[in-house]
Amino acid sequence: MTQASEQEEAKGLSFSGYLHCMRGIVWREALRFLQQRERFIAALVRPLVWLFIFAAGFRSVLGVSIIPPYETYVLYEVYVTPGLVAMIQLFNGMQSSLSMVYDREMGNMRTLLVSPFPRWFLLTSKLMAGVAVSLLQVAVFLAITWFWEVEPPLWGYLAVIPALILSGLMLGALGMLLSSGIKQLENFAGIMNFVIFPMFFASSALYPLWRMKETSPLLYEICLLNPFTYVVELIRYALYGQLNLEALAVVAGFTILFLGGAIFAYNPSKGLIARRGGPGGK
C-alpha cells in the first residue's frame, strides 16, 4: 500500500469523509430518480391532475374567504397549491420508504449499512437524498403553477426552501419508520390506504379548517391532530414569506420523533430489524 493511499484510508472517517459519504448517497438517489422517468412524470401528474381538474371543479363550489397568510380573496387553485406541494413530499417520502423496502429486498440496504460511518448518519443521508429529489419535483410543479395564476411573491420561492427541507425530512422519516416495519413490497398499497389518504384528506390541504369546523367538529379536531396539517400550513405561510411558528414547532417536533424512531428501528441491537432477522432476513 502506498503512503498516499494509507493517508487516504486514515482520512476515511474525517469530516470531509462524512461529506463525501452523504454526497454519494444523494448522488445515487438522484441518478436513480432521473433514470426512472415514469416516476418523475407520475410525481408531477398527480398534483397537476388535482390542480387542473379537481381544483377547477371545486372553484365554484368552495369560496375561500380572506384568511392568513392571504391578504385578498384567493382562487381555490391558489389555496390548494401549498397542499399539493405537501402532497408531492408526502408521496415522495412514502416512495422513499418503498425504495427502502426495495433496497432491503434487493440487498442494497446491506451495502449501505456496512459503510463504516455511524448508522444514524447513513439513515439521515438517505433521508436528505429523498428530500433533494422532492425539491426537484416541487420546483417543477411550482414553475407550472405559476402559469396557472398561482403567483406567490418571488421571495416566497426562496423562503419556502427551508420549510420544504424540514417538511421533507419529517415525511421521509415517517416513511423510513414505516419501512422498517414493512416486510414486503406489496404492503405499499396498505400504506396508501392507511397513511397517505387519511393524512392528506384529514388536513388543511384541500379545505380551510374553519370550513371543516362548520360541517364536522370531530373531523376538525382530527385535522388539528394531524401533523400533515402543520406541514401544509408551514409551506403555505413560507410561500408567502411568513413564518407560522406553531406549524414550525409541530413539524420540527414530529421530525425529531419520526427520525428518532427510524434510527431506533434500524439500530442493530435494539430495533425491529434485530428482532425480525435483519434486512432481507427471512
Binding site: M1, H20, C21, I25, R28, Q35, Q36, R110, T111, R275
Partner: protein, 277 residues
Amino acid sequence: MTASQAVPQDETVPAEVKASDQKDATRALEVAGLTHAFGANKALDDVSFSIAPSRFCVLLGLNGAGKTTLFSLITRLYSNTSGAIRVYGHDVRRAPGEALQRLGVVFQQRTLDLDLTVMQNLLYHAALHGFTPREARRRAEAQLERVKLADRAKEKARRLSGGQMRRVEIARALLHNPHMLLLDEPTVGLDIDSRRDIVEHTTALCQDEKLAVLWATHLIDEVTPAKQVVVMHHGKVVADGSHDEVLCATGAGDIGAAFAALTQAKSDSLSLDGGGA
C-alpha cells in the same frame, strides 16, 4: 487441534494501530462464545473460531446452518447480544466503524444496482467509505482492471452475466483496501467456469494481497487442502482446523465423508453441482 487453539490468545491489539499495520495482528477475525436467537429459534449456539491474517477459511454448512446469521452479525446488520466478534482486534459492538473499515463484504444476494453503470456502482460504494470522487475513480479503475472488466465500466450492471456481477462485487468489496474479505455463498447460481474463476481469483487475492478470507459455502468441493475449514451444523461449530486436521479428527478419507460424519447427513444429499441455495 483446532485453529483457535493454535493461535495464541492475545487480547490487546491497540485501537490506534494504523490500518496498514493491522495486517500483522494476531487474528484477522475472532468469534468467541457467540449465541444468537430469533425468538425461540437459536440460530447460533456458542460459536467460537478464529482466522489468522492471510488465511483462507471455508465456512462449511448446509443451508440453515447459521452461516448467513453469522455474516449478518460480523457485518453488524444486527447486533450480537452475547459473545464477542473482533476484526483485527476491533470489537464490532464497541468500534463498528473500525471493524467495518477493515472488512470487504460480498453478500449472498446480488447487491449491485442494476440500473446504474458498473462504474457508478463502484463510485457509490467508494463514497460510502468517504473517498473523494477522484480517489474513488482511481480505485474503481484499478479494481476493475484487476477483475478484467475495465472495458465494461460504462455498461449498466444489468447487462453483466452472473459471474461478471460477482467479480464486480468482489472488486467493489476491495475498493477501500480491506484486510479481510467475507463472502457469503459467492458461487451459488454460477456456471462451472465462473465458479472456478471466482474461487481462483479469491485464492490469489488471499496469497498475493495477504487478505484473510472467510468463504461461506455448502459446496464441499470448494474446500481444498491448503484451506482452514470451519464446519457448522444447526448453529454450532462441529469442526475447526486445517483440511487434514478435520480429516484426521473424523477418520474420514475425504472432506465429503468427514462432513457427512460431522453432520450425520448422507453425502449424496449434499449439493455438489453449484446449484441454488
